[in-house]
């Protein structure tokens, strides 16, 4: 009963938010031909790009949690994504064959695998955060970067790891690991990331992160960003909150990775290199640190922009124009498009007091 009441409470505060997201969903349904009242503008290919945009929203908002809201500087976000992608694909593709399942068990398995992906990523975030969050600014950044690359090379060595396990007698385990087939990429991942599901999970993730930020725990993180010495003297265990923010962020990056794997249906360690982490940094800073609105719009815009440039036959130039726009943006507006402002429907209502 309590849970139902909580869910009701959850919805009560968001009618505007729900209205807007439902409307957007409806528009997509209309234009991709699911509701046949308008010409089908969005082909499968475009819908896939839109799903990538949604996943990038999760990734960017979660990166914002560390970089924008907690004021730490992490640049290895793709590493957590990699963990999530491989963990969830492990469940749906290797351990169980989701492709041969009925609809509901399949859906349940997928959601379970996403959560597992998130949890494993969060645990990795916790492990790496524990000793390194004491490092200052750029050092933390470089450790997170290194961490992402280590994860990638571990996955790439799956064959060697399998061979080693085989040698020491863990044959069963070795066989499963061999199926990850790191250097060749993991294919035949079932097509489980349906548009509605990606859309729903994106919204849920954004709401959860936003609610976290607007709670006392989130404010503790904000105070670290604003002035960590003062935050300590206000009784806030800054190390603890850095780790919380880091793990939460890693969790959502893991979920994003799981969704990503099941949209692309083929994952390779190179999908999650340093270069991918840099993409998310760019989305984040272009949108504005400390602004969820900015993250959402920049992730969407900058995912679609290169595709758009491709569409108008700027194929060759798109990766030249994109960084140029970024440089100009930073020179003109160093705090990003949105700075730290938000759309009002993204700010939860609080009772006015005087």
């Amino acid at each position: 009963m309590k849970i139902i009441k909580n869910i009701f409470n959850l919805i009560k505060g968001y009618y505007k938010f729900i209205l807007i997201t439902a409307l957007i969903y409806l528009l997509f349904q209309i234009f991709d031909g699911s509701i046949p009242i308008a010409p089908r503008l969005l082909t499968r290919y475009y819908m896939q790009i839109i799903m990538f945009a949604l996943i990038n929203i999760i990734m960017t908002v979660s990166l914002n949690l560390i970089n924008g809201f907690t004021g730490q500087f992490s640049i290895g976000h793709a590493g957590f994504m990699c963990i999530g992608a491989y963990t969830s694909a492990y469940f749906t593709t290797i351990l169980f064959k989701a492709a041969n399942m009925a609809y509901f068990p399949q859906l349940a398995l997928f959601i379970f695998s996403l959560i597992m992906g998130g949890l494993v990523a969060a645990f990795a975030g916790y492990l790496i955060g524990l000793p390194t969050l004491k490092l200052r600014g750029d050092y933390l950044a470089i450790v997170t970067l290194a961490f992402g690359e280590v994860i990638r090379s571990i996955v790439r060595s799956s064959d060697e790891i399998a061979a080693f396990l085989n040698q020491i007698g863990l044959v069963k385990f070795s066989e499963t690991i061999a199926k990850i087939s790191g250097p060749r990429g993991l294919s035949t991942i079932p097509n489980l990331s349906k548009f509605w599901l990606v859309y729903l999970i994106t919204i849920l993730s954004v709401i959860i992160m936003r609610n976290f930020i607007y709670s006392t725990h989130g404010r503790a993180c904000l105070s670290i960003r604003e002035n960590d010495v003062a935050a300590e003297t206000m009784g806030i265990d800054t190390t603890r909150y850095k780790i919380i923010a880091f793990s939460l962020s890693a969790f959502f990056a893991g979920v994003g990775g799981g969704l990503f794997a099941h949209v692309l249906r083929f994952i390779h360690p190179n999908n999650f290199s340093f270069i991918k982490s840099i993409d998310y940094l760019i989305f984040l800073y272009a949108g504005g640190m400390g602004s969820i609105t900015g993250s959402i719009l920049a992730a969407t815009g900058l995912t679609i922009l290169p595709e758009f440039l491709r569409m108008i036959n700027f194929q060759q130039w798109r990766m030249v124009i994109y960084p140029l726009l970024l440089i100009i943006l930073m020179l003109r507006k160093p705090s990003g498009i949105f700075g730290n402002r938000e759309f009002s429907f993204l700010i939860p209502k609080r009772k006015e007091v005087n």
């Binding site: 009441k5 404010r219 010495v229 800054t238």
Partner: protein, 252 residues
């Protein structure tokens, strides 16, 4: 009753003895001043008491408990809070949020409650806002409550920092040059405010100040430091006459 006791407290930075064998006892309800020339080590004394730097040696007792070497936030939670010489408010957060953050360690609702925004969340958040607004009224800062703290005039930022410190509901508050950068009018107002909050909350206050009129005007007891050493201690009248103090300030 002795609230805070420092026993041979030292703090070295490499070869620099920033604080050397500092000893004192501060009783509940006292208003004690710490003065000394620039670089004497006053701020470092505060930094060590509040756990920003661990003491190189020596002991710090608060309510008969050795708190030396505890992390800052633990010390605040035990009831010692401070302000900073160079203001350290949370500049892009609102004035109200600045205060509410100080209540953080007294909140009970979990992260999950915060994410689900359940009754606990709403109840505690509302309580915090209410308390924070009351405090802002006391400091005459309520008109700014939705402004970013960094946009406040300098003097108001200092006041906000003191208000924020009070919000942690401390037993003792350490003020590091609270009147720095204020004009004479503001300084007088601040003196009155400090006296008022001391009465109202039954506080113990330990403050560093350069402004002699200010220190002599409100402190019951004054300590003087020079080159990391404690060179004198006494009532304002005694300090004013102390030849060592005069020498420290005027040179040989």
């Amino acid at each position: 009753m002795v609230l805070l006791e420092l026993k041979d407290m030292c703090c070295y930075f490499g070869g620099l003895k920033a604080v050397e064998k500092f000893n004192t006892k501060i009783k509940k309800g006292e208003l004690v001043g710490l003065i000394g020339p620039n670089g004497a080590g006053k701020t470092t004394v505060f930094n060590v008491i509040t756990g920003i730097y661990p003491p190189t040696s020596g002991e710090i007792f608060f309510q008969e408990e050795n708190i030396g070497g505890l992390p800052s936030h633990k010390i605040t939670q035990k009831g010692i809070v401070r302000t900073f010489q160079n203001i350290r408010i949370f500049p892009t957060l609102t004035v109200l949020e600045n205060i509410i953050i100080a209540y953080h360690f007294r909140t009970h609702y979990s992260i999950l409650s915060g994410i689900l925004r359940d009754d606990n969340y709403h109840q505690e958040e509302e309580e915090m806002s209410k308390k924070a607004m009351e405090l802002l009224h006391l400091f005459d800062l309520h008109t700014y409550h939705m402004n970013p703290a960094g946009s406040l005039p300098y003097g108001e930022q200092r006041k906000l920092e003191i208000a924020r410190a009070l919000a942690t509901e401390p037993n003792i508050i350490l003020l590091d040059e609270p009147a720095a950068g204020m004009n004479p009018y503001e300084t007088i107002k601040l003196m009155e405010l400090i006296k008022r909050i001391k009465e109202k909350f039954g506080l113990t206050i330990f403050l560093i100040e350069h402004h002699m009129q200010f220190v002599m005007g409100i402190c019951e007891r004054i300590m003087v430091m020079d080159f990391g050493m404690q060179i004198a201690e006494g009532t304002p009248q005694e300090i004013q006459k102390n030849p060592k103090v005069i020498r420290a300030y005027l040179g040989e």
